[in-house]
């Protein structure tokens, strides 16, 4: 990816921030917000220039995600603007009818098409893919139930992986109103966002985009960074609200902010936010530079930020006391979103498991000083 330079990023940051805070985005439906995002041209950040997109790199994606997080806005950005954009863009090279995909991407860019994405199965262990693709190569048939398809309720198309007879995985694109597709009527996600279970019964209107490939890996990287950045936005909002609350809430004749334990808590919350900012910024740079260290940095970012945002949200509830427990205050809604961010893609445990499987790298320089001694078996145990 080419990416935006520093000053372009700063200008972009400013316009995104203005969009989420000054406009009427807070009162609009997810689809209306998405239309405004598209009108501003930000729906094609992840699409290559060759396909008519902005190809702006993960730093720009992170800016949008962070601002959406801070304003707690729901819009199909990670499904359509990140994952589907990357997968469809790169699929053009492997399908028989690239014009069809190009036309669809065009509609993604204009905001006319939203794509629901089965993120858990797309980026999880292929052994746990629930859908089956039968029939023949010319006439595929899709069956099964996918439990966690984000934005399926407002989607025009669905992006789902399916297991084929030979055990390999095929990435499938299905029109959401095709025969044999049933989308659960209600969202099941605790943050109230659009996440549906989708059932496929003998669905024949399936376009196969080929096997999972670099596109899926790239989309997974961008998605993890977007979630990390969203977590930063949530921490920023919570830290601001909690700090302000402690300054105005008085007990024992003084503002709560006078109590040193609470000051220390606020400091810990700020440290979580600051470290997350630094990590995600670095990870985006590493990814945009095309480094082979990308996946490792991305896993570190998501696991750190997901843990941090949950801690910050739980502390925000605690420091607000009784009002923090109400549905009326935004704090609880941020907490629920924070929980979902941490639970997606198999959760933090899965990030850490994958991280432990990444190739070991020296911290500094080209070699690790202890490498030799570490791989030496202990003679006592041989």
């Amino acid at each position: 990816m080419s990416g935006l330079d520093e000053s372009e990023l700063r200008a972009f940051e400013e316009s995104v921030s203005t969009f989420v805070t000054k406009g009427d985005a807070g009162k609009s439906s997810p689809r209306e917000i998405w239309q405004s995002v598209a009108d501003l041209g930000w729906s094609s950040l992840a699409i290559s220039e060759a396909s008519g997109g902005l190809e702006s790199g993960t730093s720009a994606i992170a800016i949008v995600a962070r601002n959406l997080g801070e304003a707690l806005l729901e819009t199909p950005f990670i499904s359509t603007g990140v994952v589907a954009s990357i997968v469809l863009d790169q699929a053009q090279g492997s399908v028989k009818d690239p014009e069809h995909i190009a036309a669809l991407l065009e509609k993604v860019t204009t905001g006319d098409v939203v794509v629901g994405v089965a993120v858990e199965e797309l980026f999880g262990d292929p052994a746990f893919v629930q859908l089956e693709l039968g029939g023949s190569a010319e006439k595929p048939v899709l069956d099964g139930r996918s439990a966690f398809v984000i934005d399926a309720g407002i989607a025009d198309h669905l992006l789902v992986p399916a297991k084929q007879a030979d055990g390999t995985i095929a990435i499938c694109l299905v029109s959401s109103d095709a025969d044999g597709v049933t989308i659960d009527p209600a969202s099941s996600s605790i943050d109230g966002r659009d996440v549906r279970a989708v059932t496929f019964e003998g669905c024949r209107d399936v376009r196969c985009l080929g096997a999972p490939c670099a596109a899926i890996e790239n989309a997974g990287i961008a998605l993890r960074l977007a979630l990390s950045a969203e977590a930063i936005g949530i921490m920023a909002a919570l830290n601001k609200m909690t700090g302000e609350y402690l300054k105005v809430r008085r007990q024992f004749g003084v503002p709560l902010a006078r109590f040193q334990v609470l000051q220390h808590r606020l400091v810990d919350m700020a440290l979580d936010e600051q470290q997350s900012i630094a990590l995600v910024e670095r990870a985006c740079n590493v990814v945009d530079a095309g480094s082979d260290d990308a996946m490792r940095m991305v896993l570190i970012s998501r696991s750190f930020t997901a843990k941090a945002v949950r801690r910050v949200a739980e502390d925000s509830v605690q420091l607000h006391g009784g009002v923090g427990m109400t549905d009326e205050l935004a704090i609880g809604h941020y907490l629920k979103r924070a929980l979902v961010i941490g639970a997606m893609l198999g959760g933090i445990d899965e990030d850490l498991r994958l991280l432990s499987e990444q190739p070991q790298r020296p911290w500094f320089g080209d070699t690790a000083p202890l490498e030799r001694t570490l791989v030496q078996p202990n003679p006592a145990t041989v």
């Binding site: 993120v119 858990e120 052994a127 746990f128 629930q130 139930r145 439990a147 966690f148 659960d184 009527p185 209600a186 969202s187 099941s188 996600s189 605790i190 943050d191 996440v195 279970a197 008085r250 007990q251 024992f252 004749g253 109590f259 334990v261 609470l262 739980e314 509830v317 605690q318 006391g321 009784g322 923090g324 427990m325 109400t326 549905d327 009326e328 609880g332 907490l335 629920k336 929980l339 979902v340 941490g342 639970a343 997606m344 198999g346 959760g347 445990d349």
Partner: protein, 379 residues
């Protein structure tokens, strides 16, 4: 428990779903058939005169076996104050309906301006002949919408020290001028309320003990409740739930319990719960032998509430694997047991969310540490 706890009630408790009022009352009445509902009351007022140890055994046993929370406001909060500090008329008027489970009570302590700083209450009582005219409001009042009566701390006299001048008054919720506004909490349910008193007339006969001594009675209550606040029985049940959750296969995925990290996490929680239980037993035996246990007993609420949150968090993490679309305990029959659209409010997630309050009410963790720090520094 096995014979008499209604199956639907037990099922709801095990699934972490809130109960309806009638389900609570039904259970209170069943327990009362054996006198167990008021087992901790002295025999002179119709109880069984249980020792703290007997009560500890009873409560842990029933909560571990899926008993609903015995709503304490009447039977455990109001009643002891009434039978310890009230007069015969008050005992005769209020205790029978509490014991039979017919009267539902609420606790009117907190106000918007008086949370951790409880002595700062501003709800006022002004004498008018043989009545008190009460004005002000109470907040976070659990199940006030079901209540027949509320006990409130009310400022009946101006004084230099905020703790002085407070009185303990029993107010009929049906009195003209009382209104209840619901507060929906983080789990999407209505447990909490704000209660408004607009010149509510309450007979002087409803003021317990001496006028202006309400703070002392409220304190007395807190001291009575310290050891049970550890809630070991409920934690034990919840820890078993974690074990059950990680033992069950997740669709086509193997159980989480097969991962070393999970068995270790559960083992660690078991270690901590056993330490808490031991500390409570240690204090109970000291108390039994007449030794003064002191403020250190409030560590049980502190440690217990924080541990219960970690147990709830473990349950939550155990249902993480398809995002948090799930909210169910113990059903692996569905295609995707985790996707139960209509149920997010209930069960594991609801319990985790509402459980965040355990470190806020009944003396927040910060306030408990403040109190304990004095004792620790004095050693």
């Amino acid at each position: 428990m096995d014979e008499r706890l209604p199956a639907t009630t037990r099922e709801k408790v095990l699934a972490g779903r809130p109960l309806d009022k009638h389900e609570h009352v039904e259970w209170h009445k069943i327990l009362n058939e054996r006198g167990w509902y008021t087992g901790h009351w002295p025999k002179s007022v119709g109880g069984l005169g249980w020792s703290p140890m007997q009560r500890w055994i009873f409560e842990n046993e029933i909560y571990y076996r899926g008993s609903p929370w015995l709503i304490p406001f009447g039977v455990t909060f109001a009643a002891p104050i009434i039978y310890t500090f009230g007069n015969d008329d008050q005992k005769a008027r209020f205790l029978p309906a509490i014991k039979s489970g017919d009267a539902w009570w609420a606790q009117g302590y907190s106000e918007t301006g008086a949370g951790s700083d409880l002595a700062n209450v501003s709800t006022r009582g002004v004498r008018d002949g043989s009545d008190w005219i009460i004005s002000g409001s109470k907040i976070w009042t659990t199940t006030a919408h079901w209540a027949d009566m509320i006990f409130a701390i009310v400022r009946t006299r101006a004084s230099d020290k905020p703790q002085a001048g407070l009185s303990f008054i029993l107010i009929d919720m049906a009195s003209p001028g009382v209104s209840v506004e619901p507060i929906v909490s983080i789990d999407g349910h209505h447990h909490l309320n704000q209660v408004f008193f607009d010149e509510v007339r309450v007979p002087d006969a409803n003021l317990v003990g001496e006028e202006g001594k309400g703070w002392g009675y409220a304190k007395f209550l807190l001291e009575q409740e310290r050891i049970l606040a550890a809630e070991v029985g409920r934690c034990a049940l919840d820890l078993d739930k974690v074990k059950a959750l990680i033992a069950q296969p997740r669709g086509i995925r193997p159980p989480l319990g097969e991962q070393g990290i999970w068995s270790r996490r559960v083992a660690e929680l078991e270690v901590r719960l056993t330490a808490l239980e031991s500390t409570a037993l240690h204090m109970l035996s000291k108390e039994q032998s007449g030794e003064e246990i002191g403020v250190m007993a409030s560590m049980l609420k502190l440690v217990g509430s924080e541990l219960s949150q970690e147990i709830d968090a473990a349950s939550l993490d155990a249902i993480n694997d398809l995002g948090l679309s799930a909210d169910h305990f113990g059903d692996s029959s569905a295609v995707s047991p985790w996707a139960r659209p209509d149920r997010f409010r209930d069960g594991v997630i609801g319990q985790y969310l509402y459980g965040r309050a355990a470190t806020i009410y009944g003396g927040s963790s910060e306030v408990q540490r403040n109190i304990l720090s004095k004792t620790v520094l004095d050693r």
